[in-house]
Symmetry: C2
Subunit: 338 residues, 2 copies
């Protein structure tokens, strides 16, 4: 098959790779209905994250099961399934606690920007839909695989409750999904920090009540002003830089909650600053598997449409253009059709 | 009156100061029944924390109200009261949220290592006991003012629930109070990291089920071993150094809770390490006022005796010896009798 390999920063190739096969009795192989480019793929693409060598890319996936190993009992060929970027057994103590991305047997899933994908620990990892979905549901279902699940975790980890005042730092795909999630969890006020008009508009569709274009100290001052000097109950940090993290901590009320769901790059937190900010801090690789059944339901029942976050659709063979468009911020998120 | 002034590192003097007076209509003046030396007093005493000049010392207090300003309505002369190290109005949004140490009108209370003390915002700050207490209750009531309240916050902020496995980092007075608090909140297993025999014994009295003497990587490995490789549900960090913080994060399970209640000195947290540790982090200056009514009840009804943490009692005039004994770890905590 032909699939996506990042050779070095900026060098995405669509090239011949061996077809994935069942390697362990707990594996499944799926034929992808759709896949996409993740904001986190841009770290190595931009040369900010070191690479050991050429890497098959992609960790967001949904599609039809083609084959399963002999120990797989919960999904079978022909079913439409969705999984997350870490395969998990869903039975270990960390999985039971809802932290499947810290599963004792977790395996990173990669190589999903391809027509087919091997998924380890299929029983613990994959969630099947009630039936094969209508085509227009596929983008939304694909979103649950990572970006919606990660946005949902941002809202959950920041303890968003009905009536809450929420601030979202970042208007990328995850920030937009965090906005949608906060709305679903009952937030009354959702302030999104954004400078891009198209993203502001989608943020409003997803539930944003206020947009703040200022950043840094000015952005903090503006949100304090909007919250009568108190600060936000919940701040959802969806970027992963030192600046975004400082901004997030700065706009939370004392006793408020800050979540962070993007892998931090170059972030260092001063203990004393954090201490006197009095915030709750929680984040990490989103345990999407915890939320997956619920999120799949929300999409299946057409309660929400996270699929709108894909503002660029390309044939899989044009994956390199997907990376370029996202890198140059011409697209929020690129969906790829095998 | 004669009271305690720290002139420079290591130089504690008991010297003449003006008697405290009502300055604002919301003030109270109390005559201290007992006061004490705090672990945090040792930071400037040891020269680790800069001082702007000579400082009246002490922020833990209980005693009889002598005088109140004209706006004070909730306490009156003759009542026995306890307050915390930050005076708070107990009416602002941060107080309502339970974060009185971030009160919009907070004032740091200092000068309590003295016969008399002015307490600002008396209505919001002071909690009266049902009656003047028996002498043997005074140490326990004094403990609620800071050290017990801070230990309780450590347990509360780390989400200690019935059945929880808890680790306590630090066997100082706060660590011991955190142990007592975790026990009260229903922890099933309490692992205390301690190397000092007298403190280990008191920790066991207060509810410790396991003692770990190892530190650093060995300490982390030992606690992982004791928890079947999973880690602790809740870790109560009661020291405030880089080492203790790393240890705390290292022994928490993914999805577990780490609280930190001592002012961090030289602590810096790496964003990526924290991200993959998957922990909840919460701390700050303990909002003792939130817990004070409950803690005073626990002591008044003799459910617990946090007063055992005072293993040295001195006349107030010998305050300098109290500092020395704590600095040299000859005493856990020194109670001072005016």
């Amino acid at each position: 098959m032909r699939a996506t390999v990042l050779h070095k920063a900026g060098d995405v190739r669509f090239e011949e790779l061996p077809d994935p096969k069942i390697l362990a009795p707990t594996d499944a192989v799926i034929r992808l209905a759709a896949t996409c480019v993740c904001g986190s793929d841009l770290w190595p693409y931009r040369g900010i994250q070191a690479m050991p060598g050429p890497m098959p890319m992609g960790h967001e996936y949904c599609g039809i099961v083609e084959d399963v190993g002999r120990d797989v009992t919960s999904v079978k060929p022909g079913q439409f399934v969705i999984g997350s970027f870490f395969a998990s057994d869903n039975t270990c103590p960390h999985c039971h606690a809802g932290y499947q991305t810290s599963c004792e047997h977790r395996e990173y899933v990669t190589g999903a920007q391809a027509p087919k994908l091997r998924v380890p620990l299929a029983d613990g990892t994959l969630v099947a839909t009630p039936d094969v979905p209508a085509d227009d549901l596929v983008p939304g279902l694909l979103a649950t695989s990572d970006v919606f699940g990660t946005g949902w975790f941002a809202a959950d980890a920041a303890n968003v409750k009905p009536g809450a005042t929420v601030a979202v730092v970042g208007d990328g795909a995850v920030g937009l999904m965090a906005t949608l999630s906060a709305k679903q969890l009952g937030a009354e006020r959702i302030i999104v920090m954004s400078r891009h008009e198209a993203r502001q508009q989608l943020a409003r569709e997803y539930g944003a009540t206020d947009i703040v274009a200022e950043r840094g100290a000015e952005g903090i001052a503006r949100i304090k002003e909007l919250t009568r000097g108190i600060g936000a109950d919940a701040v959802l940090e969806c970027v992963g830089t030192q600046e975004s993290m400082q901004q997030a901590i700065g706009v939370a009320r004392p006793g408020g909650y800050v979540s962070y769901v993007g892998v931090p790059h170059g972030v260092s937190l001063d203990g004393q600053q954090l201490f006197f900010a009095h915030v709750h801090l929680h984040g990490g690789p989103a345990p999407v598997r915890r939320f997956l059944p619920h999120l799949v339901d929300l999409v299946w029942n057409r309660t929400v449409d996270p699929g709108k976050v894909f503002d660029l659709r390309l044939p899989l063979a044009q994956v390199a253009e997907g990376y370029r468009a996202m890198d140059e911020r011409r697209a929020i998120k690129a969906l790829l059709q095998p």
